[in-house]
Amino acid sequence: MISSRSRTLPRLLPLVAISAGSALLAAACGAPPGPSGWAGAQPVRIDGQNLILAAHRDRLYALEDDSSNAIWRFPARERDDYPLSEYARGLLLEALGEVDLPSDQRATVEARMSDLHLSGSTIDAAKQAVDATSADGDARSRLKSRLDAATRFERDAQSGLDAFYGDIGVSEDGRTAFVADFSGAVFALDTLTGHAHWVADVGDEIVGGVAVGGETIYLGTKGKDLLALDANSGERRWSFRTDGEVWATPTLVGDTLYATSFDGSVYALDLDGNERWEFRGADAGIGARPVIADGTVYVGSFDNKLYAIDAATGAERWHFSAGNWFWANAVVDQGVVYAASLDGKVYAVDAGSGELRWSFDAGAPVRSSPVLAGGGLVVAGRNGNVYKLDLGSGEPEVGPIEAGTRILADLRTAGGDVYVKPTSRTLYIIDAAGGLAATSIPLPD
């Protein structure tokens, strides 16, 4: 018995070491989870046609609302079929205009540059057209370098996509969708074709979404900046530096931009990026989008508090405490603020006094922002359960219906329908007016 044990000892050492290493890795399941994205679906109405933009991880789909057929997918499967953005093509043509060329040669190169795709034969064809011109060698080299740089930049931007998190911004006419990727790439896409108007790289990761205000779009970055980009070109108009990462989509109301930061502040800026006031009362970061109603900014914080702030001065009016962070955007309706917390509860709070009216236990942390639809409050827990709550009592009118997988994305509503995007490759359209009848739409690969 003894001799057997001592013989086994040296053999055990490596086995134990291997087991330890394996156990360590198995227990931890490898690396921390990478970004998966939780961008909610965005209904869009354009030229009498209803579309739904839905993101899944690093892909964006445009679906017909009626048939749920996919119209396009971004990024495109084949880069050879995906045109260079309009803005980049415009810059190339502008550069071509600076070169002295006979008109027939110019027309040939222009035609090639107007048909540039992100990869494939069109690039070579354009270069050959440039080489065939009578321009001097330096000018030809410069043109070809710019052409290469433009196609490479947009190709890399698409292949380097991580995940879409924030709100998808849509222009007033519905023709352009602005999407920001976690990698720091921002795209202005044609909502009918999925082709890019322009592509920009802001240089920092982006968690929040895009707010659209006429010719300017606004977004925050993990690099602590609040950015204003030209909606037609993606070029930076101004940036405003905060003391923390900016994870939430800013809110534009009139001529004031409201933004939150992980420095625990709410900022009010004018449209030139000048600060009007700063509320620095939160004891932890703020990851929710500010909601403005009746001259008051309502926003929840990671210090477990929901704040009501004077929209004109930034002075705190009241705060309400919960058991965990507020990350979901608040909803305000008829003097009541509805706010969901990661403590698993949905709170209805008097908008004037901050007093609790009722609370509902969703049974799981709630990160996705609820919506008002069908005369009730539709809320989704991280566990995938969706409820419709009575606005007066907080009792569930219907539900739960189960999505089966986690729900972290903000809910969206249009025409009585609620769009729910869980972490699975499925979009649920729920009829909030009825009994939460759900239609599930599998998103294509």
């Binding site: 000892l9 053999r11 070491a17 330890a20 962070w325 942390p365």
Partner: protein, 310 residues
């Protein structure tokens, strides 16, 4: 099973997560410093277990000359007698052959929990923050430290270190640590399967962890690096006099040879099967010339001891 997992989280992962985040808050949001302090802190917390492990390892190393002598005497002649004598030797020195394994095994849950803590805390993806929110205690300053700043020196602790500095450092420090605790094979055991496995593990583990460090966020690689460095430091302070630091430079150490004049250590020839066992040396004598597991010369060992005293 769920109960065990829940207990594991409540008793280990959650408290450790909160301590780590609190340290990050105390370090002005510097998560790198928090990881370093936390890892060292955990080394001290687990010191009683580590010390037992080192003590057993040290005793095993001290016994090597005697084991070699026994092996020389009985190998191929009377294996049963060899095992009996070796177990008697273990008993004589108060060593449990499994004594160095048990403290190591006991530490695994703590290290796994620590790994989990870093994994959850350092995650750069927003999803990690949702998970973290469920782990933090309702203490306001802890929540105010979130999100943790992942920039430390030139590393983004939430992303793999593509510069290779940390992965290489993890590999080297792990090799050094492995080398220090792996006894050199004796002449009798040099060709044994166990010795070959030990030598293989000496290389495999550093390579594996170096490779893992390339894949995981730099925060985890930093944690491994500090774990190794603090392990080496503890080994130095605990066993420094007896460690042959020069052997680190030998890629394939020669099998240890019995000492030419092992007066103080060698097992004296047994006069008779059941005859009186020679008196063992006192501690000072035993510790004096022996030390290193690899049969390096006495002169080299003394040199090593002088270095250790400096």
């Amino acid at each position: 099973m769920d109960l065990i997992i829940d207990l594991f989280h409540v008793l280990l992962v959650e408290p450790m997560t909160n301590v780590l985040v609190a340290l990050a808050w105390a370090a002005g949001g510097n998560f790198g410093i928090a990881i370093i302090v936390f890892t060292v802190l955990m080394r001290f917390v687990t010191w009683p277990l580590t010390a037992r492990q080192y003590k057993q390892t040290k005793s095993m190393q001290e016994m090597q000359p005697k084991i070699q002598e026994l092996q020389k005497r009985y190998k191929g002649k009377d294996p049963k007698k060899l095992q009996t004598e070796m177990m008697a030797l273990y008993r004589e020195h108060g060593i449990n052959p499994f004594g160095c394994l048990l403290p190591m095994l006991a530490q695994f849950p703590i290290w796994i929990a620590l790994y989990q803590v870093i994994r959850v805390s350092v995650g750069e993806a927003p999803e990690s923050l949702v998970s973290l929110s469920q782990t933090l205690y309702p203490i306001s300053f802890i929540h105010s430290a979130v999100p943790l700043q992942t920039q430390f020196l030139y590393w983004n602790l939430g992303q793999p270190d593509v510069s290779l500095v940390l992965p290489v450092f993890v590999g080297i420090t792990m090799y050094v640590q492995q080398k220090l605790i792996t006894p050199a094979p004796t002449a009798a055991t040099a060709n044994s399967t166990a010795a070959q496995q030990q030598q293989m593990m000496l290389w495999m583990m550093p390579l594996m962890f170096g490779f893992f460090s390339l894949q995981v966020p730099a925060g985890l690689a930093l944690y491994w690096a500090i774990t190794n460095v603090s392990g080496i430091a503890l080994q130095y302070f605990y066993m420094g006099r007896r460690m042959d630091w020069r052997s680190l430079l030998t890629l394939n150490p020669a099998p240890a040879q019995p000492e030419r004049k092992p007066k103080a250590l060698a097992v004296a020839p047994q006069p008779a099967r059941d005859g009186p066992r020679p008196e063992t040396t006192n501690d000072d004598e035993a510790n004096e010339p022996v030390a290193a597991p690899s049969g390096q010369s006495t002169r080299r060992k003394r040199h090593g001891r002088r270095r250790g005293k400096r």
